[in-house]
Amino acid sequence: MAVTALVVVIFILDLVTGGIIRRNVRSLAIPVIRISTGMWTTVFANGFFSSRATLQKTIQSQREEIARLQEAAATYNLMKQENDQLRTLVAIAERSPGITAPIISSFTSSPYGTFMIGAGTADGIGTGNLVISPGGFAIGRVSEQGEHSSLITQLFAPGTSIDALIGSAPVVVEGSGGQNAKTRIAHGITVKEGDPVTAPALRGREIGIVAKVDETAGGAYSNVYIGLPINLTGLQFVYVEK
């Protein structure tokens, strides 16, 4: 009972003080987030788990050699991936002012469709700045910023909605989380899988593509499922438009 009361009091204090407690919690957690995300990426990118069964069948010297080569290949792949992402972000930077920021948290850590980037007020980031993937898709907006980190809310976070266009048809897209969203569109308007979904409020940027059209929903509307054609968990950098 005492802990419950304490938790409620802490939460109310945070609300009253405009989020001071959570900002401090975040700034304390940033180093841990950086380390844990780095370790997570390293462990799963080097192929240790996926090739373990195979490696156990080989002799010790072969196993060591394979592990060494895998580590080298994983490092190469990570660097190549990082290089490719940075190259595409440079192209975006030439069109609109902003900065490239590293993603410092896992996309699966948050139940609210949020993630953290390693840039904040010191880098000129402000609330509401648009966050763009290396592929040019708008993926979120800056919700809160610390000095060297910011919390981003994905456009498709659960409970969010955004006005969008599929072709020339205006729709309201509702975020479902996990880089998916859905909307409804009247029968008779032709929408097919792969059609881009753009947001006029975000200067016409693409926010996803049509993943599936379900015409069997009944009534005068079809359900349209929208997804991001990129794997967010593989992203290392994003571009923050100022």
Binding site: T108, S110, P111
Partner: protein, 81 residues
């Protein structure tokens, strides 16, 4: 076991929310675990943008309070202490 589960829940905050969820469920089923309230609060403080409570409901904290208290009669009834 209880501190280990709490630690797993904390690690889950930075890696995957599912890890935290599983640890929290095991904790509340097995123990009168006030730690789950701390986990819920930390989830909200780390990942929920601050703002009006109506637009950003602290679901993790609320869920933690609910499960901690909801499981209490169940634990009292069935758990061999």
């Amino acid at each position: 076991m209880r501190p280990v589960l709490f630690l797993i829940g904390i690690i889950g905050l930075f890696i995957s929310i599912w890890l935290t969820l599983v640890a929290a469920i095991i904790l509340v089923v097995r123990y009168p675990a006030w730690e789950v309230l701390i986990l819920g609060l930390l989830v909200d403080f780390l990942w929920l943008p601050s703002g009006l409570p109506l637009s950003h409901l602290p679901l993790a904290t609320l869920a933690a309070i609910m499960v901690v208290w909801a499981f209490e009669p169940l634990r009292s009834e069935f758990l061999i202490r």
